[in-house]
Amino acid sequence: MKILIAIKQAIALDEDFEIRADGRDIEEDFFLPDLNEWDEYSLEEAMLIKERHADTPVEVVCVTIAPDSADEALRKCLAKGADRAIRVWDESMEGSDPVAIARALAAVAKKEAPDLFFAGVQSSDHAHGATGIAVAGFLGWAHSAVVARLDYTPGAKEVALKRELEGGLSQELRLPCPAVLTIQLGINKPRYASLRGMKLAAAKPIETLAPGDIGLATNDCGESGSLARVRRMYVPEKQRAQILAGDVAAQAKALAAIIREATGS
């Protein structure tokens, strides 16, 4: 039984940062990289399945589509108990959008043939919330987004889960395996790695693959394999905010005056 987890080295920023000269990203010097917060929860969920069912061997495999700077995030997963780590990259993958990333992840999933595929609901930096479900699209597997509770016995044909809907509603359902699930924060309490875990992880290999190794062509990757690209990143201009005082009639009057002024009518 195998669980494949997509993980990402996400980027946080300090208060001060600068945009890159080409205007398409933040200057790398200002990056504060760490494992995407959601991925801590999907890894923990996999580890719980592994530990709760000690009689059935469960292999937990982490995968990321990223250059070697992401090894740190993979090692963090290994330190917490993941069995293997895979990283797919070459230069052709530069500029990949969530769809191109998902295509690569799906290719790895085909190769690894897991029973469950986990991804975070979203990443803490770009927050597209698209990658996990796009993987399901490529694979054609059953899927569910924003999973807040999971019940799975290794080897079972089905997985039971609860997912969050809009407006505080939730839905309980069962899905056939293999399935793609995007995992929500708070589903569990992620563990910390012990020093022993970290030391062992430092010695474990990270399997590195190129797109060709998983059957991807060059135009499947990077900008040519993407549906979206970043044209320009900029700090939005400071806007004005104003609280309108008085009763509704007075507020409406004040609002009308603002609109007139702004539109010059």
Partner: protein
Amino acid sequence: MARDPKYDILFTPVQIGPKTLRNRFYQVPHCIGAGSDKPGFQAAHRSIKAEGGWAGINTEYCSIHPESDDTHRLSARIWDKGDVHNLRAMTDHIHQFGALAGVEMWYGGAHAPCMESRATPRGPSQYASEFETLTYCREMDLSDIAMVQQYYVDAALRSRDAGFDIVYVYGAHSYLPLQFLSPYYNKRTDGYGGSFKNRARFWIETLEKVRAAVGNDCAIATRFAVDTLYGPGSVEVEEDGMRFVELADPLVDLWDVDVGDIAEWGEDAGPSRFYLQGHQVPWTRYIKQVAKKPVLGVGRYTDPEKMTEIVTKGYADIIGAARPSIADPFLPKKVEEGRVDDIRVCIGCNVCISRWEIGGPPMICTQNATAGEEYRRGWHPERFPKKGSEDSVLIVGAGPSGSECARVLMERGYTVHLYDTAEKIGGHLNSVVTLPGLGEWGYHRDYRETQIGKLVKKNKQSQVALGQKPMTAEAALTYGAEKIVIATGSSWNTDGTNCLTHDPIPGADASQPDQLTPEQVFSGKKPIGKRVVILNADTYFMAPSLAEKLASEGHEVTIVSGVHLANYMHFTLEYPNMMRRLHELHVEELGDHFCSKIEKGRLEIYNIWGDGSRRTYRGPGVFPRDANKTHRWLEFDSLILVTGRHSDDSLHRELNARQSEWEANGVKAVYLIGDAEAPRLIADATFTGHRVAREIEEANAQFPKAYKREVAIWGNPHSPGVNPEIEYES
């Protein structure tokens, strides 16, 4: 980062007579336990602040003559050439960092008991000190006045020779010049008593004489309690306070003003329990209206925002600080470098002061474990030796000692895992800060939380694991750390074990619904009844704080205390207002009483002196005193046991029992720090964590390295020309 321009005003220089203060940060006189006899301690503690950016740095009060001898407390002295030699170390080291050195010339009158010199103090009139109640002074006649004024002049000349830039005539805290000014002490009817002018005469003349002697070389400062807080009958700011400043202004280059007296000097060095930052402003703000010379004020100024406000609003020109400079000697530099969030903010606990009040052991600080350790242990507050090995360290417990140990080890470059069951760094402090008035004590936790937060970002191998399951010996052994530090804290006894009987009290049992430990009060899970009895055998803050908390919440509280309730709070200057508070809240105290047994809803108490004053040998098995017949029952709805604490050290014991397994698991050493080693002050718990982190490479870091001692050496005279041999008058 550069400093925020809004603080620019704090970095503008100020001219004081012939000298220039480079900025507005100024360490007012404060004791440290060094005096003139520990010159290395004195030089290092003061010059570290010069390095940290302070513009002016003073000695503690510095006696001008053996007639003003404060022993059993510890002052500096500038009595002779030996003192000049020793204090020169301080001024030289301060000057190396471009700051000015000041000396606070002190004559105490009856407040100085002269226990070493056995001299007779002199004063404006004869009175018994309200501070040192067995000491009386002799009333000065006119020749005495001239003689004592000459003491000031001679001491000023020695001060100049010792390299001091600022020379004080010290008249705050009810010392001699103020004794002349205040009708509370001065009952004279001659030219030095009666009218304001006459009462001011001693001080004015002394300033004139000192100025004439050293005014060209040194700035003349005077420290003045502009309001003694006694109301009419002593010094009030809008009366004699302003009047004196106006009169003496031409004679001083710097006004250092505060409020209060000596017997209750917690009104000046206000503990955070009762006073906020800037608490003296309502009085001291009047001084700028009459002074043409620069004015400095104090009030536990830790926040550059507040300091800027004080200067821009015209309440003072210079920010004086004692405690903030102890907690963070680098405060000015951190403001300068735009690192305000790195300031180690004084928590206002006054543990620094407690050491002076006790009689002058080296000062300690709850926030700054390096305070007082600069010279003898070579601890710099901001610099740490690089790690001496690749060992990684697991610290179990993120309370005051564990978090300090983690911070220092991380600063040194070690990989550290800090582990706790709680969701927050801080340990028992997180409960303590919920007690009335103790919120600011949380700065101790906040500082470590912020620093550790920054340090773990620098070393991805380091980690803070909070909200964890209790650490077992097995998990600790196999954690993968070469070194394990146990900082699991202590708990209040649940069975009444105490410092008087060293045994449990029959019937004491905090698992009963009507008995609680302080921790159970904090957790709020057990209901507390109307009539509360606090059974106390602890001499610090827990019993009075719980009494205040529960009485404010509407309970009827009685404290049964077998020890002097809140005794240590005399030393932290919290005692007077704590007692006022308990009085306001109608808390009853049954002092000198302890408890022999407890039953449901009642405890049996007895007078601890009820066992007869005569002691007789009556043979084995018989008490040498009479049977105590003072026992009686006292009823309660809830009983709170503040009888004593014990270390939570079971993890350490288990690890020690499994020492044979250490090597196989790669464990090289296990240390025990903080309350888990022995319950103690937060300052001392913090110290042990800091010390182990500094000394972790030592062969057995559980035990402290020897430190550099400063002691008199046999055969060497203190002053030149003195024969050091034993010699008798014949």
